[in-house]
Symmetry: C2
Subunit: 264 residues, 2 copies
Amino acid sequence: MKQQLHLLKIGGNVTDNEALLNSFIKDFLSIDGPKVLVHGGGKTATELAAKLAIPQTLVDGRRITGRDTLDVAVMVYAGLINKKIVAKLQASGCDALGLSGADAGLVTSSKRSDTGIDYGFVGDPERINGEKLAQLISLGCTPVFCAVTHDGCGQLLNTNADTMAAEIAIALSGEFDTALIYCFEKPGVMLDPDDESSMLACISAAKYKDLRRSKVVSGGMIPKLDNAFRAFEGGVKKVTICHAANLRSGTELVPAITDQSAVQ
Amino acid sequence: MKQQLHLLKIGGNVTDNEALLNSFIKDFLSIDGPKVLVHGGGKTATELAAKLAIPQTLVDGRRITGRDTLDVAVMVYAGLINKKIVAKLQASGCDALGLSGADAGLVTSSKRSDTGIDYGFVGDPERINGEKLAQLISLGCTPVFCAVTHDGCGQLLNTNADTMAAEIAIALSGEFDTALIYCFEKPGVMLDPDDESSMLACISAAKYKDLRRSKVVSGGMIPKLDNAFRAFEGGVKKVTICHAANLRSGTELVPAITDQSAVQ
């Protein structure tokens, strides 16, 4: 039987909020066994870009990463946020190791180019060195990833943190029984975004299809859930979407294979 | 017999100069066996601080690191410069692993407090986890350190890169025969800073004392040489000061123990 590993992902709404981040870190520390953290960025990068008068271009709600915006992402994600989290974890006795995808060649991405829109220095993970990552974990380290990767040819690339978390969870599934936990500022997937009691305890792949068709699930939740369901296909054992301040509750995802069961 | 390890240190004048950095990296790659790189910052951080209108205070020529200046240092050193170097090395097949002193608890510093001047968030290395660092090296990784450390209680600290390089070289000397190489924008230690032919092929500890007394050696070269001679006391086998574009030449330091020899 494989050892269980927890991979948690937090976004900018957690890293930007000191109290929420501290509460999350406390819960993260209480998880037994090997674990990995993937963090996004957030307002800090947007604010820094504004202070530096770097114009931000959005196409269909997605940010175009020019050279200056990439520098800001690398400074804020790989520098400021990553090292702040690492220092906090180290202070609590967790042997955190801050990483970008370039470090130890762990996550190599390909520059997004086939979409008809030039997103600039944005890359989608293509190759994860799961073996090297497992070796780092075997030394007792807790990898803390920012969502900056490289193309293997010297270029750093801005990467979606949800996608990166799913791909790393998949890559570790050969070695570990991997649980992927997306933590954000809501308690889970809710039928009514303003009513916490409408949270679904679980969603099957079929149910997700329905919710998406009826537009109950929309916006940023779609790529998160797409990534989540894809993770099952890659061997991830368990996927949960929960509030960063309450890792014990949330919406559990149920892979397609059990769609025939009673879970809906 | 121990395996030889080379630890090279480059400063901001190298990291700020793309052509010099590329030339240095080519030579760095050609060094056989395990190696470690420690890099300083440079103008990039000063420029970013200016753009963000963060006032820079100097006392006796030394920068005071307030909270905002620390953030700039972490962003530029641990983010921008560190990941740029890592991506370049990875592109050349070197399994670079970017690190701050906080990562894996490798370098713990104590906030400088006994000098009569409050330097702010500046720390002097106090404890290096040489064992963990050697484990990372044994995985085939080439550690690339920025000069940001932590105090073990959650606080990041700005650290002198020359000192950090010496301390890491000392910490690795139990496991390896360590050669410490300070690379900068001059060919070595020169009697006349404007005349490259005045470069000394070697300096003994006694000679350094003379040069320092007669003020031939001054300014930023003093802490560099102080660190270098201290490294011998900690077990480092060889210390060289050379131009970043010419690692094969330079000034070789000779430890105190051989002062009685003919080397002067």
